[in-house]
Symmetry: D2
Subunit: 465 residues, 4 copies
Amino acid sequence: MDSFSLFDCVSPLDFRYYGGNAKLLDALSPYVSEKARVRHEARVEAALVRVLARRGLCPPEAAQAIERACEEVTPEEVAEEERRIHHNVRALVNAIRARVPEEHRRFVHWTLTSFDVIDTAMAARFKRMTREVVIPYLLDLERELVAISEREADTLQMGRTHGQHAVPITFGFAMAEHVARLGERIELLDDAAGCMRGKISGAVGAYNASSLFTDDPESLEREVLAELDLEPASHSTQIVIAEPMVDLIHVLTSCLGVMANLADDMRHLQRSEIAEVGEAFEKDQVGSSTMPHKRNPWNFENVKAFFKAFAPRMTTMYLDQLSEHQRDLTNSATNRFLPEVVVAVVACAERLTRIMGRLVVDKAAMERNLEMSGRMVLAEPLYIVLAGLGHPDAHEAVRRLTLESEQSGEPPAALMERSDELRPYVERMTDEQRTVLGDYRRYTGIAAEKARKVCAEWRERLNLD
Amino acid sequence: MDSFSLFDCVSPLDFRYYGGNAKLLDALSPYVSEKARVRHEARVEAALVRVLARRGLCPPEAAQAIERACEEVTPEEVAEEERRIHHNVRALVNAIRARVPEEHRRFVHWTLTSFDVIDTAMAARFKRMTREVVIPYLLDLERELVAISEREADTLQMGRTHGQHAVPITFGFAMAEHVARLGERIELLDDAAGCMRGKISGAVGAYNASSLFTDDPESLEREVLAELDLEPASHSTQIVIAEPMVDLIHVLTSCLGVMANLADDMRHLQRSEIAEVGEAFEKDQVGSSTMPHKRNPWNFENVKAFFKAFAPRMTTMYLDQLSEHQRDLTNSATNRFLPEVVVAVVACAERLTRIMGRLVVDKAAMERNLEMSGRMVLAEPLYIVLAGLGHPDAHEAVRRLTLESEQSGEPPAALMERSDELRPYVERMTDEQRTVLGDYRRYTGIAAEKARKVCAEWRERLNLD
Amino acid sequence: MDSFSLFDCVSPLDFRYYGGNAKLLDALSPYVSEKARVRHEARVEAALVRVLARRGLCPPEAAQAIERACEEVTPEEVAEEERRIHHNVRALVNAIRARVPEEHRRFVHWTLTSFDVIDTAMAARFKRMTREVVIPYLLDLERELVAISEREADTLQMGRTHGQHAVPITFGFAMAEHVARLGERIELLDDAAGCMRGKISGAVGAYNASSLFTDDPESLEREVLAELDLEPASHSTQIVIAEPMVDLIHVLTSCLGVMANLADDMRHLQRSEIAEVGEAFEKDQVGSSTMPHKRNPWNFENVKAFFKAFAPRMTTMYLDQLSEHQRDLTNSATNRFLPEVVVAVVACAERLTRIMGRLVVDKAAMERNLEMSGRMVLAEPLYIVLAGLGHPDAHEAVRRLTLESEQSGEPPAALMERSDELRPYVERMTDEQRTVLGDYRRYTGIAAEKARKVCAEWRERLNLD
Amino acid sequence: MDSFSLFDCVSPLDFRYYGGNAKLLDALSPYVSEKARVRHEARVEAALVRVLARRGLCPPEAAQAIERACEEVTPEEVAEEERRIHHNVRALVNAIRARVPEEHRRFVHWTLTSFDVIDTAMAARFKRMTREVVIPYLLDLERELVAISEREADTLQMGRTHGQHAVPITFGFAMAEHVARLGERIELLDDAAGCMRGKISGAVGAYNASSLFTDDPESLEREVLAELDLEPASHSTQIVIAEPMVDLIHVLTSCLGVMANLADDMRHLQRSEIAEVGEAFEKDQVGSSTMPHKRNPWNFENVKAFFKAFAPRMTTMYLDQLSEHQRDLTNSATNRFLPEVVVAVVACAERLTRIMGRLVVDKAAMERNLEMSGRMVLAEPLYIVLAGLGHPDAHEAVRRLTLESEQSGEPPAALMERSDELRPYVERMTDEQRTVLGDYRRYTGIAAEKARKVCAEWRERLNLD
């Protein structure tokens, strides 16, 4: 074990995306690592003795000694003891006890069951981690998106549905979609973190053990959990009911979905034929091993890959809602994988923030692409205006006009002006309507305004400034 | 098509669980069927003209004629038109137009894009369906669970972890877990339904078309959606952003998880060797084709099967978060499957309510099973009390006592009383502690009280009475 | 129930993709419908009595009467009986018995357990359906792909990696990928169908019942199954072991993956900016409700959607590998959904065959796109040739040359010819090498040849002609 | 990075199940670790120059120098270079080049694209790993299962369906199910490993680069791959087509399903009320932190947990079948996770082998459980025999007899003998039939024989001895 290195790892998170990334390792390791698990579990043991002492159920000096031991116990000590006795929480307890004078040892873990410690520590860990790491990283990305959306609020871009040119928007409007979606996810994430719950209710959740020493074991539970900024679950068995964690992992997974959609949009906009956005190269970076000229959207592709790797794992969460009677242990190993989802979300957020921060927007390319279909996009407003002005079958009229324009090469507006059939409607058009019908670049609805509005709203809701 | 029958269907929902079940067909068909889709989409078209008329953008008589057509248009008409033109919303529009005098036709669908109709109708349909069908069915189940939990609040049962006897609880306490979990799901479901959002923002979400006729297209959108008891999405492209529906389907899926856990618990309690609960047979019901004496938990197995069939589908929802640019259509066919999840939840709720309603609880069997391990379960309180009273290594002391009791057949309490080593602690025990240590049936913590408390809480939160 | 119509269905397969499609309904309903299930189960009952009669265990006239009843029994009769007795196979048995003279009734279902019938019928159904419907539909698609690949074997197209222009290929080569992948899937599908297994081994798989009347119950089993073109499973409990079906559904699911990749490629090639392929419009078809000029790749999008809807369901198959002891029934309802995957595969194959059959390939667009990056793609051969001729760091040399070419606008080849540093290598190039370096259109490797070779191979392996 | 330790890892595979397990680390790290990836990729580079030298395309001394460098290059060197240039294969190439005299450097990676190396190395790695580690571990488990099945071939056990007592089997027969299922998986795994494919076909799969120097680039490819015990894929683009790996991962996943079913069966047989099997405790092992007497099936629960964690990941494989055009990179990060599935399978196999090796079978408990329902299980043979002997409605007759027996407490056989209605049939029963009807312990069909037969078959097919 002594020689274990990064390169012995099997998990790409460990050898590459988290363990191999100093910044993320630094930010996440206090929460997601195995040593973080030990640390958080020890904190639960410490919280217990603090409360026991406060209630006069254990001497203050015992509590102090145990608290100190809880701070000092190392994962190595726990691992060594676990190899001996094959029980992880008992190993932690023994390792703490070994650091405590014999007369105080009996208060370590007193009345607790293993999962009082494990599940409570897990809840505390995920609550803090979500609020102290995940949300800040997502807010960084949100800030970047808001900045781009506001900066490009008026930048014309062709709107695309089915990969086909539809009607014009602005690039800022397109980005505002991601601002709104990510903003909502962040708020929900904070809610879900606030719903994390702990338990100090014993082996089957009925407070059998703690009832032996106190008349109100639920108040003891509340007090211990409050030390850890948690509330008790509405119900617990040997474990906290599964749903608060299921809900949190759902929101995290859906964050990956929002980021993957952003990534997909960006990588398609980088296609050679579209080329509306790009990424500034870093010095010394190599594009491809044999094609030095290629500029691949590999960062966006990486985000998509993470999404593909993690979205299906949500099914495991639903499977873990099922635990027989007062629990079976088939969710124990699965729970150990949960911090990986957090790493995935943070890794994607960090990467996207970095890449979006150096996103190059090629307005000329956007104009060029828009122009390609400019004439044809006027079909829609033409239809709307004709119908609004009383044409009984505007849809069919425009379809014919469009085909004619396609064949003759003349703009639909010109054909319209010349058409005897359409003249009565043309004469009743407003100036604004004529302006739009004559210039497809004006047919952007309230795209720019909406971009600014969405950004302003999320600046405020998330206190982005 | 004329001869299409139940037995031609490929979906077991259609030929069996919903279509083959008169009660569910009746309750759900106004929401989940293809004709329900048409009906809800027509309502969006009707809402539009009502608002147009109110704003003076279309004559009242046009609006009235169109509203009437929207009420009367049939799915058969739409299907026939779609076979001709291969576009489902345009087919609906044409079918409505065909029922409207020529001079009013132009106001049908005016300024809308297909997905203004489809997504708004979908949101309205799921919002109503969740509140008017799904939640009531879940509340019926919740009522049944509360009734059992309260009725059996004091019924002794062995608590089980890992399928092993742990320490005693009451059956009402065990049921209270399901009360709490289902209760929370119901509340979240109502929240998620309230988050359904619509859109009247046109082909790419920038209100390009509606801006041609109004200065504040967002207010027009709000007004149309209000007719359908909806609010606008925080952002839309051609479609409503995916997340509100993703969140709702998540909660529905997690309801299946809660119900499957209940089902799993019940079917294991029905095992021949445990036999603590059973299901009253219906007259004429046959247990198995060759073993007429068998009483299979097939209803609970069915609920588990639905969970297994539907939980993985959540992944499709995450995949549908990705839609290129202002949308691609790769979520169109997938969305058509969404009502199936609702059918699954309602079918499971209906079945469980029915079965739990005739659940037979065999208290004698519960007592017998408890007795099997009664003596041994006292190990835990013994440990707790010894540790609390100052024994330095109570865990080890109890382990030895337990082995001795296993070998000699004597109750641990008796061995304890005789033990020189333990005497100092025994002497300092409270009466309550001695009582529990002498009778494992007393070692139930606050199980009964907690069962009643949980039930009382959910009665109130959900207005169950 | 009498009034049940297509529009009451909740499953989009029933009301739209299969039930609403006369061609598919016709092809698939003998296999996937509920009535097909009844028909196949009755065939198992018939096979049993044929063998019993042959072995002298039942009178020939009894066997004949029962066989006739098995052919004539209707799903309506079975459904009605099931509503009465709540057991589906016993209902089938009763419905058959009701059509048989009283003295022969006892031989119906004799020694069988329900799942002898259900699982054997399922295996027979999936084996025949795979070979008689699924594979023929996939072969139709394969033929279409081969035709395109051969026809376009020499059609120049830019190769794309990461959505970026890489080096040239031919469109026929690109299509050959799909030919090879689909070809392999078809072969595997046939293998997997051949691995379907049945069972006539009774309630727990130990031939308890049949052993009462025969010394070699395994030979009886083999004989009955042979009537249905099946072999016995290597082991069975109450059910056939799960894996043969799990493997078959895996191959079916992976067919969706192959088709979805084809669909994705096609829809991206249809992007407005790329526009290399298109789909001929059908008469009267409407492109979009408000943009009559749009030509959406909605058929390809539909295939992608089916893939997204069905790929996650594979997880359910793995969950169904778990059945407690000699089986629990939690795979019963899930199994009823299995024919849906078949419908999905056939629907996608049929759609793709139709659309690929009218695929319009725009060679001019392919040339135009190729030309965009023509100059730059020469970087790769330049690097290869320079390295091959001894340049110590060709990668770096080409990187610099490429940047220079990007800035100056001159072709890399021209810059190379003028470079003092590169001259020694240039002088030693072969004619072939110089030709390629001077004309990126020649840099297609063996693309055309490979396309023809792949097609020839699959023509032969699958007997396509 | 220097201080990275096991306890910094986020993946439970790394800190616990693989990295924290000396035996598995030893067996798997040559294949699954990051350093194993580098090693295998370097081998591809070495294979290339060996073939180049053999064909006279590069000097033998260059090939030797490069081969040596490929053996000696360290993951640390590659990682350091990658941090500089942000491209992993180019980093490997540079690290190899740095160890080669300048004049030979140009032959390193010559004509290759990154994924010629990555995908070929991946295929070689998975082929060897499957055959050299995974299959041997599964064979160890298979041997253990065969040993138990043969040893317990005659051990009576109650057969269970739906968790209900059905008819008797033997425990060896029950185990034979797992023997057969695992045996089949092992054979399929070997087939799937044999289908792994590599590629040396360049940037888009058309051999563009290698064609510059050889007329038959496919033969060059075959020769390089043969060095690595691989064949070329039927088609490749920048990458090997996805399906061979998808198929392999499917088989691996289905192995988890088979093992999880075994684990589930064992843990239910360990339930306190059933208690038919147990696990011998290890010295010093602690059962639970507060209940020292509990003997939890946590090893079986762990296997179930791994199954739940990994089965849903198969969906990622299907998603990775989709790669746009000649590939996008969205499968790059996902592929890095693939070795984790192998770790999961091996960890489960190793654990189960260990636990099954010390499985304690409590024959007395099996007898006791059987006896519980013994009388009632005779209903089935009674029905079969009565029907076989001509009773027109044996099912109904037995149902009545069963109810009577339940109420009166008399054995069905005794009631039968006394029944006037049944007498004519009773008189015609064979001795064998009477024996079985009088002793439910005889009603085991061919369970024992089948157990031995299945074991003999798999001993032979897998060369287990």
